[in-house]
């Protein structure tokens, strides 16, 4: 991390702050918009033998802007018996959790917002903040469906937090660090059986962990088959039922932005993040990486993120949803034991090899 090459090193503090704010907005909104258009509008349509939006812009690419415009124009309604203050606060909490999450995501050797030593620990911690938003959204709506949805969400997100953490522990053991940059470095400078042309992406060595992590992400994002909290056909969108207009838009952006950020974290943990195998260019340490990687890195990360999101969305569009008790049983009786065994095996191999 040679600070002399930092793009923002010479600008004053307010300039750096502005740069971070704009960068954060781009890092949250760009993936969210792309995911919504590419996957929610188009891929889902093609899977369901229809065309999806075609009128707004070429191939309906401006549809999202039209939708946002529509939502912004709508009246901001709140139920008469709602707890108004926290009702209005809830979507902001959900969105804030996404922004807090993106803070630790590294996009290149020097392109990061913050570089925590315990980055992944922090990420897993702040991802739970959204539970709070969802729970108070469900409670403050003064709607029984919302209440049920909020309670389900709370139960589900807490249950799936655990296998997610346990799946990440395998990666942390293997990389030997909790720093996300360190995990990227460990994968790209690593080698498998002396062959370093692919680096050592943890998706191969931690495949079980990857699967558990993706399942947990699916549940954290409340996507089918774990979409009990928003279940359209029974709870009529659960905690979001009473929200309209701008606040619904925030929930909506929050949902897909979180999907994007979680996909980024998954690709950092398991697919090598922003990096390419360092052996390709003869890099050895973080300092020896060429500067162009700061521009190429975000694109590489974005590509990997889209791949991971594709998986998430594919499952979402194909599967029916589980029942609440089946979902809990799956987390506690299947995922957590497997991830515990995974940790034991990883730790044993780490010490032995």
């Amino acid at each position: 991390m040679n600070s002399t090459t930092l793009i923002v090193a010479d600008v004053p503090y307010w300039g750096q702050s502005l740069f971070r704010v704009v960068g954060g907005l781009v890092a949250v909104l760009l993936p969210a918009g792309t995911i919504v258009y590419l996957f929610l509008f188009k891929m889902m349509s093609f899977m369901q033998s229809r065309l999806g939006p075609m009128e707004a812009g070429p191939y309906g690419s401006m549809q999202l802007f039209a939708e946002v415009g529509k939502w912004l124009q709508k009246e901001d309604i709140y139920p008469a018996r709602a707890d108004k203050f926290i009702f209005k606060l809830a979507p902001l909490i959900v969105l804030a959790s996404t922004f807090l999450l993106v803070v630790v995501v590294p996009f290149g050797p020097d392109a990061w917002f913050t570089d925590f030593e315990t980055g992944i620990f922090y990420a897993l911690a702040v991802s739970s903040v959204s539970v709070l938003g969802i729970l108070i959204a469900g409670w403050s709506s003064a709607n029984k469906y919302s209440l049920l949805g909020g309670l389900r969400a709370a139960g589900q997100l807490i249950a799936y937090e655990l296998p997610m953490v346990l799946a990440v522990i395998g990666v942390v053991i293997q990389a030997g660090t909790m720093n996300l940059q360190g995990i990227v470095l460990a994968q790209n400078s690593g080698s498998m059986f002396g062959f370093d042309g692919l680096g050592n992406p943890f998706v191969l060595t931690q495949f079980v962990g990857f699967i558990i992590f993706m399942i947990s992400v699916q549940a954290e994002l409340t996507q089918a088959p774990f979409d009990m909290p928003i279940a359209e056909s029974e709870l009529v969108s659960g905690y979001m039922t009473e929200y309209s207009g701008f606040r619904f838009l925030i929930f909506f952006i929050g949902e897909f932005a979180t999907a994007g950020v979680f996909a980024m974290i998954a690709s950092i943990l398991f697919l090598g993040g922003w990096g390419v195998p360092f052996a390709w260019f003869g890099w050895t340490t973080m300092d020896s990486i060429d500067n162009w990687m700061n521009l190429a890195g975000p694109l590489i990360l974005f590509t990997k993120m889209m791949g991971v999101t594709f998986l998430v969305m594919w499952v979402r569009f194909s599967y029916p949803r589980l029942r609440e008790d089946q979902l809990q049983r799956f987390a506690w009786k299947v995922l957590i034991p497997i991830s515990l065994v995974n940790i034991m095996v990883t730790a044993t191999l780490k010490v032995a090899v």
């Binding site: 033998s49 469906y145 049920l148 089918a224 056909s233 029974e234 009529v236 599967y319 029916p320 008790d325």
Partner: protein, 390 residues
């Protein structure tokens, strides 16, 4: 205090008892959840009042009538040929099947019978409306369970069937094609060939749905062992159609009674399932679509030539008398009890629609299930609001 009817009083007592049961354990209050009248799981305006303990249902009362249109009364001020336009709207997904029993009842009173070709075409259209109806059920099943893709497949392939119905009758949803003594028109040219190809498409659709939905483990875990209706309970509650056959009762009015229709001229099978759970009900319906395509194909191959209308007077007056005719409609047994006093229109018509009786089991069936299972059980019972409320 306002006076309550018997049924209301009973349900009030039951709800109090349910509350007491909830209070006993945790000192908590039960939550009354109104599912509907505007709720996606109710396909319309059915209201289900559920008393919950957590997410478990302790007491449930289906409250129907939000879409009551008074068809039984309206028939009394219509002439016989006009009534078919009304009864089309009872089960709006399988409209043609609603017309047939009424027309048959009128024909029975008049002592006439449609020509053989008309009987064949009636049966074909009857089965096509069954396919149009139940294929939508198969897609909708996915939506109720959260899988959004199957419904689009159902709409895609149902479109072929609706095109066929439109080609023959001129109406996609409400054909109004059946006449006393036969049919309005003969089939258009090329319709029979088109039907054969569409039936192949529909069988492929069935395979697709079976792969996508019925083979899915989540689907099975959501439906197997859920909402079990034992054989004798199903009979007691007057269930009919696939709901009854899924409980292991081998009973199908198409086979078990002789009507001037063409079902007895072809080879097909009545499917039953011993389990009686949600999965069984869905599975039986899937097989029924397959059997219907087989029936249609065989009838298309063996359809006789001849007129489609027998000789009837220009102004139809049905002689005095009473007649009951019921058929195996897509949703179950549908029957008309027609009382005639020799006028232009019926004196009284009692409509027995399948969904109303099938729904009557819900207070028994939904007791003790979880909220998500309400949706799957209702979906698997498969009612259509128009068929409940008439």
């Amino acid at each position: 205090m306002t006076l309550l009817g018997d049924r209301q009083q009973l349900s009030y007592i039951a709800s109090q008892a349910a509350d007491a049961r909830v209070n006993l354990e945790l000192e908590t209050e039960g939550m009354t959840l109104n599912i509907g009248p505007q709720h996606p799981a109710t396909h319309g305006t059915l209201r289900i009042i559920a008393r919950l303990d957590g997410e478990q249902v302790v007491w449930v009362d289906p409250s129907c009538g939000y879409m009551h249109r008074g068809y039984e009364k309206l028939t009394e001020v219509r002439t016989y040929p006009q009534v078919t336009a009304l009864v089309n709207r009872i089960d709006w997904l399988g409209s043609f099947a609603n017309e047939v029993p009424f027309i048959l009842a009128a024909e029975k009173l008049m002592g006439i019978e449609a020509p053989l070709r008309a009987q064949h075409i009636r049966t074909i259209l009857f089965e096509l409306s069954r396919i149009a109806n139940v294929s939508l059920f198969l897609g909708d099943l996915g939506v109720q369970l959260g899988a959004i893709t199957p419904v689009f497949m159902a709409f895609r392939d149902r479109e072929y069937v609706l095109n066929l119905i439109e080609g023959a009758t001129g109406g996609r949803f409400h054909p109004n094609f059946d006449r006393i003594g036969g049919l309005k028109d003969d089939l258009p040219a090329g319709w029979l060939d088109e039907t054969r190809t569409v039936m192949k498409k529909l069988r492929r659709f069935c395979d697709e749905i079976e792969d996508l939905l019925f083979g899915n483990e989540i689907f099975q875990s959501r439906t197997r062992g859920i909402g079990v209706i034992p054989r004798d309970i199903a009979l007691q509650y007057g269930m009919s159609g696939a709901n009854l056959r899924a409980s292991g009762v081998d009973w199908d009015l198409r086979r078990d009674q002789s009507l001037p229709m063409a079902w007895d001229k072809v080879d097909w099978k009545v499917w039953t399932h011993p389990d009686g759970d949600s999965f069984a009900r869905c599975w039986v319906r899937l097989q029924e679509v397959r059997e219907s395509t087989r029936i249609v194909e065989q009838l298309v191959d063996t359809i006789p030539a001849g007129p489609v209308m027998t000789k009837v007077p220009r102004i139809i007056k049905v002689p005095e008398g009473e007649a009951w005719v019921c058929t195996e409609n897509p949703l179950g047994e549908m029957g008309y009890y027609v009382v005639s006093q020799g006028d232009l229109g019926p004196f009284r018509v009692k409509i027995r629609s399948a969904s109303f009786n099938n729904m009557s089991i819900t207070p028994w069936l939904l007791k003790g299930v979880y909220v998500p299972d309400i949706v799957t059980i209702l979906a698997s019972l498969y009612f259509i609001l128009g068929d409940i409320d008439r």
